[in-house]
């Protein structure tokens, strides 16, 4: 038996190998045309400019970009992260939207009025807006959408953060009410929303997906899987969604703000090195992390001419926990703040792509003030401050935590750590904390010293200063408390005069920076490669519906 069996086994293996080989050959022959897309001549790495718009990729009106696998279904009330909202803002829409300059603009609402001391917003809807299935959008749809978002059985993770100020939302969410009393349908084209307290940034909050309008019929017909065929009002509709592989959005010809120029946007969720794919003309836009700047900006890289920095509305910073030694002494905090040579690091490691954070609010933020300053690099002064502090000569061990499993601290942290060692003579220990465990640890009282970053949820200073530094905020993990700052933040939150608000925030920001509980380092940017045939891509620092501005032209 075994002789024949063995021959059979070997024969089977040989057959399979042969089969795989044949399939490959066939696939190669058949897919040859597809492969030629990358067919800039073999010398493409030597010829500067070979990666330009010459390839076939610039024919047609389909934009191909790398994307991230969405971290939730494409349901506006479930979206909480940047990569998923990227798709949702293109498919769905709400009362208002953000333009590329991050100004609030009408979307489905054509106009609105504010009354009752800033506590009542009345929106007039356009009468020509339809869902992608052709059905008209009315005030009832907004009432339904917001009630759906606040329904605890739907467990939206963002509803309190963005709509918590709407009367009745919190009550509905904690099951103390059966409906949201603050949203009223006045007539078919008029919605009124009442707020708990006046808020100048409420319209900004409304631009977030959780406030978008969804179609009741579509959802009730297929409550479990409607997101696989969603029905929104956005400039694009979902044409194909293969999890982890690709998302294809197709133009919504009936989009009320003008149909997009692109026929489709293809998000590739899989695939190898983005830089190589970009170079091989496989994708129109390439995003890459700062660690790969050397591959693009240095030497003779043909990619450098397509490089573009897109500011991010975010700040990188260190928190120095005033509850923990040695940072309970302001002089120690100031010493650490003054011994980070941010300019050199930016120049040497980042090709000056980042901006040195001379404040906490990023420059794109409305209300950004040039009058606010963070501590300048001054190693001599820093050393002196450290010697004047009560910890002079007897500093306890200091551990700098950063979040991330499977994340190296990166060149920036290692360079900064070395900087502290050189100018203060202090050796800081670096320690990674799993990203999923960071919040839990922080709620226990925060870290001694933590490397952190904050990205805007909506463009308003409240989102940075109020959330992180008000002493009653749940996100103020280091329990920072400065009565003057608290007073300014409370006043600013409900202030109606915008100029006055912004100046209140600027005052608070300066006080926070002077206390040196937070040491801003950089305002980061996103690094992009954009083919020259791609036109009109907004340089925007937040996730907005942007592909409707884009066109492909040779």
């Amino acid at each position: 038996m075994s002789n024949r069996m063995l021959t059979l086994m070997m024969g089977f293996v040989a057959f399979l190998i042969l089969a795989v080989g044949v399939v490959f050959v066939i696939a190669l022959a058949g897919g040859g045309g597809d492969d030629d897309n990358g067919g800039t001549p073999a010398s493409s790495d030597k010829t500067p400019g070979a990666s330009g718009s010459s390839g076939k990729i610039c024919d047609g009106k389909s934009l191909i970009v790398p994307g991230d696998d969405p971290s939730s279904v494409l349901d506006p009330i479930q979206v909480g992260d940047v990569s998923t909202s990227e798709y949702v803002v293109e498919i769905f829409g709400g009362l208002v939207t953000l333009d590329p300059d991050l100004k609030v603009q009408p979307d489905i609402a054509k106009e609105w009025s504010v009354s009752n001391g800033g506590k009542t917003y009345t929106f007039k809807l356009r009468d020509n807006v339809v869902f992608q299935n052709g059905q008209r959008v009315t005030a009832d749809d907004f009432k339904y959408s917001i009630e759906r978002a606040a329904d605890p059985t739907n467990a939206s993770p963002t509803v309190l953060a963005y709509l918590g100020n709407v009367v009745g939302v919190r009550e509905r969410f904690v099951n103390k009410a059966a409906s949201v009393s603050g949203v009223k349908v006045i007539d078919e084209n008029t919605v009124q929303i009442d707020l708990v307290e006046p808020s100048d940034f409420f319209l900004s909050e409304l631009t977030y997906p959780v406030a978008f309008v969804v179609d009741k019929k579509t959802i009730e017909k297929n409550p479990r899987n409607w997101t696989q065929n969603p029905n929104g009002t956005g400039p694009f509709r979902l044409k194909e969604f293969k999890p982890a592989e690709r998302i294809v959005l197709a133009r919504n010809d009936r989009y009320h703000l003008g149909a997009p120029k692109l026929a489709a946007v293809v998000f590739e969720l899989a695939g190898g090195s983005i830089l190589t794919r970009y170079e091989n003309d496989e994708i129109h836009i390439g995003y890459f992390p700062a660690t790969q700047l050397d591959s693009v900006k240095a030497g003779t890289s043909p990619l450098s001419k397509d490089y573009r920095e897109v500011p991010e509305m975010a700040t990188f910073y260190f928190t120095l926990n005033p509850q923990k030694a040695p940072f309970d002494d302001p002089k120690v905090r100031q010493a650490f703040a003054m011994s980070i040579d941010r300019d050199t690091i930016n120049n040497v490691l980042l090709y000056n792509a980042y901006r040195v954070a001379d404040g906490f609010l990023p420059p794109e933020m409305p209300g950004y003030s040039e009058a606010v300053h963070s501590y300048k690099y001054d190693p001599a002064k820093a050393k002196q401050l450290l010697q004047e502090s009560k910890y002079a000569g007897k500093l306890p061990r200091i551990t700098l935590t950063y979040s991330g499993t499977g994340a190296a601290p990166g060149d920036l942290l290692v360079a900064i750590q070395k900087g502290w060692q050189d100018s203060l003579g202090v050796e800081i220990q670096l320690e990674a904390i799993d990203s999923s465990a960071v919040l839990r640890e922080q709620r226990k009282g925060g870290f001694q010293m933590h490397s952190d970053g904050w990205a805007a949820d909506y463009p308003d200073p409240e989102d940075f200063l109020g959330k992180l530094f008000a002493s009653d905020s749940q996100l103020n993990y280091i329990k920072y408390k400065n009565d003057a700052v608290d007073a300014l933040l409370t006043q600013a939150r409900t202030e109606q005069d915008r100029t006055k608000r912004y100046s209140l925030y600027a005052d608070a920001e300066q006080k926070i920076l002077d206390d040196a509980v937070v040491v801003p380092t950089f305002w980061p940017v996103n690094h992009l490669l954009v083919k020259s045939c791609v036109q009109g891509l907004p340089n925007t620092s937040m996730t907005i519906p942007k592909y409707r501005y884009v066109d492909i032209k040779n």
């Binding site: 790969q292 591959s295 030497g299 360079a415």
Partner: protein, 329 residues
């Protein structure tokens, strides 16, 4: 999880036990007759010497940075024979310290004793059979069904907060000094690895034992009333040895490879301590390789040669063993 043909070698961690002292010396002599083995040995000696003496022979400090546009990413020169990295650190120095990391790690794993499990339990299961066999193999199944990566993460995460505390204590109370943190991290990684690593080699040893003990000469010895120990050492071990040695040598490269891979993923040794995993992770990019090929070559080359040398050496050992076995048989 994440097993793959390549990872198989890494899980087959086995150890070489001295069987008979005279045979060992003969083995050494015979191995030394092979040119390839000598070259491999010479490289390993160089690697080990470089790693152990890193603090003495390194031309620069491990974390000496030169933050300037001209000094960073220098190609190899007389000042920096391996060039410099993004932070302007001397790569030769970092390679030496990475070798040191690799050495400490392999030693810690070997000493941690998990390696003996594969051979010992394999022999036991195969030879004794019965409930011992069942218990060992089923335990192995439970363990090997567990997700190693997940456990590693869970264990490192659970102990992470204490890594610094323990390493500070070691630093203050022992001679280990700067290597303490590395050592503590190694211990944690090996705690997560060892319990899951022995099943592969255990199975192989067991299957060999099962086959060999049915051989006529073993049965003859048994029927003549030879002691268990005598049968095990005289008859079974020599038969198990060749395959076992393949495992051992592949294991050496595999253990070192596990650390490099973990650090590459960011789960092992963190900067500013040096590990080949970080070194490679830092400079690993298609586009970067096109412009700065030396970064990947000097970062990965030494450790690739290290793996290669261990494998060649193992091959030479197997060959010598087999030949002797054939002569004897």
């Amino acid at each position: 999880m994440g097993s793959e043909p390549g990872a198989l070698a890494a899980t087959e961690i086995v150890v070489f036990e001295d069987v008979q002292a005279p045979a060992r010396f003969r083995t050494v002599r015979q191995v030394l007759k092979k040119k390839v083995a000598i070259i491999a040995l010479a490289y390993l000696l160089l690697f080990y010497a470089g790693g152990l003496l890193a603090p003495v022979i390194a031309p620069y400090g491990l974390n000496d940075q030169q933050l300037s546009v001209e000094k960073r990413l220098q190609s190899p020169s007389t000042d920096h024979i391996f060039g410099t990295d993004r932070l302007g650190r001397d790569l030769f120095t970092r390679v030496l310290y990475s070798a040191r990391t690799t050495i400490i790690f392999t030693v810690v794993i070997t000493l941690s004793g998990g390696l003996f499990l594969g051979l010992g339990l394999g022999l036991l299961a195969g030879y004794r059979g019965g409930w011992i066999d069942t218990a060992i193999m089923r335990t192995g199944e439970v363990l090997s069904g567990m997700p190693t990566l997940l456990l590693m993460l869970a264990i490192t995460a659970a102990f992470r907060a204490r890594i610094n505390g323990w390493s500070f204590w070691l630093e203050d109370h022992t001679f280990l000094g700067e290597d303490s943190k590395t050592l503590v991290k190694f211990l944690i990684i090996s705690m997560a690895t060892v319990p899951f690593a022995w099943l592969g080699s255990c199975r192989i040893v067991r299957s060999q034992v099962l086959a060999i003990r049915e051989e006529s000469y073993v049965q003859a010895a048994e029927s003549m009333g030879a002691s268990t120990g005598r049968i095990l050492f005289k008859h079974i071990l020599p038969g198990v040895m060749p395959l076992f040695l393949v495992g051992l040598t592949a294991g050496m490269a595999g253990i070192a490879g596990a650390e490099v891979a973990l650090s590459y993923l960011g789960l092992g040794i963190d900067e500013p301590a040096a590990s080949f995993g970080n070194l490679i992770g830092d400079v690993n990019g298609t586009r970067l390789f096109n412009d700065y090929p030396y970064l990947l070559i000097v970062g990965a080359g030494p450790v690739i040669l290290f793996f290669f040398s261990w494998n060649l050496l193992g091959d030479a050992l197997v060959d010598v063993f087999d030949r002797r076995q054939n002569q004897r048989g």
